[in-house]
């Protein structure tokens, strides 16, 4: 069996291994529980000081749509939680360009999600990074742990 290349793993100051975790979101919001239970993993995982990112592909891009309102369906609205991700140091939200295009969406249709960069005097920076399918493929290749929701 192929051996693990431990040289690619990062060790932090306290001697703990820091792995690259990517949470891949593929489902439209509220139609299934996957976005909600996925977010629960992301928020808990934030306490583990790993190198975390999220990807939004396929119908998953709808999760970041502006102005979601679940009042009529009676479903719990998970959309506000994305706004809190920056405070949990989840600052890399990769959105696939092709998935947006296929659904007639553009960056302007998505929530304005930001994080504050401590190293640059708490400058507010956008969390959403639109990437091509090919770029996302490269990002997936770099991960140690991928969880699909």
């Amino acid at each position: 069996m192929k051996q693990i290349d431990w040289s690619s793993l990062v060790i932090n100051e306290s001697g703990k291994v820091v792995k690259k975790f990517m949470y891949v979101n593929r489902h439209a919001p509220h139609g299934t529980i996957y976005p909600l239970e996925g977010l629960e993993v992301v928020l808990i995982g934030a306490a583990f000081d790993q190198d975390v990112s999220m990807a939004f592909i396929g119908d998953g891009v709808f999760q970041l749509n502006k102005g979601q309102d679940t009042a009529d369906s009676g479903m719990k609205n998970v959309a506000p939680t994305y706004g809190a991700l920056g405070d949990y140091e989840v600052t890399k939200l990769y959105v696939e360009q092709e998935s947006l295009d296929e659904r007639g969406l553009e960056l302007n249709d998505l929530m304005n999600l930001t994080w504050e960069d401590e190293e640059e005097n708490w400058a507010e920076k956008p969390s959403i990074r639109v990437v091509s399918r090919a770029q996302l493929s490269d990002l997936l290749e770099q991960q140690d742990v991928i969880l699909n929701f």
Binding site: I4, K19, E37, V41, F48, Q50, D144, V145, L147, N148
Partner: protein, 130 residues
Amino acid sequence: MKFSVMVNEGPYTHQAADTAYHFTRAVLDAGHEIFRIFFYHDGVHNGTRLTTPPQDDRHIVDRWSELAHDHDIDLVVCVAAAQRRGILDKEEAKRNGKDGDNIAPGFRISGLGQLIEAGIEADRLVVFGD
């Protein structure tokens, strides 16, 4: 090599729980180690001892319990996912004022931190189910 396994589908509806079981057996048979098996989403239904399939079918829940017993495997059911779906141990039943528990032998209920830890500690985290 050290593996962790995540099971995201309930028993019988999808093959995922069966495949996860057979994968785990193959890992052990090949002399590798299982760090933990984590049950999430509808996967928590793998951990109810009230499951009663027809006699001529496999008993998916008992199969997990036997695996845990024979190989000392850590079977963890996510507490938040379990509570939504009515999977309780004695402690959780008491805490939530329910009149009974249904967790199967060999399973324990714990938090999502156990999943993240499983991802960090294992060389590979293998996910089964949608």
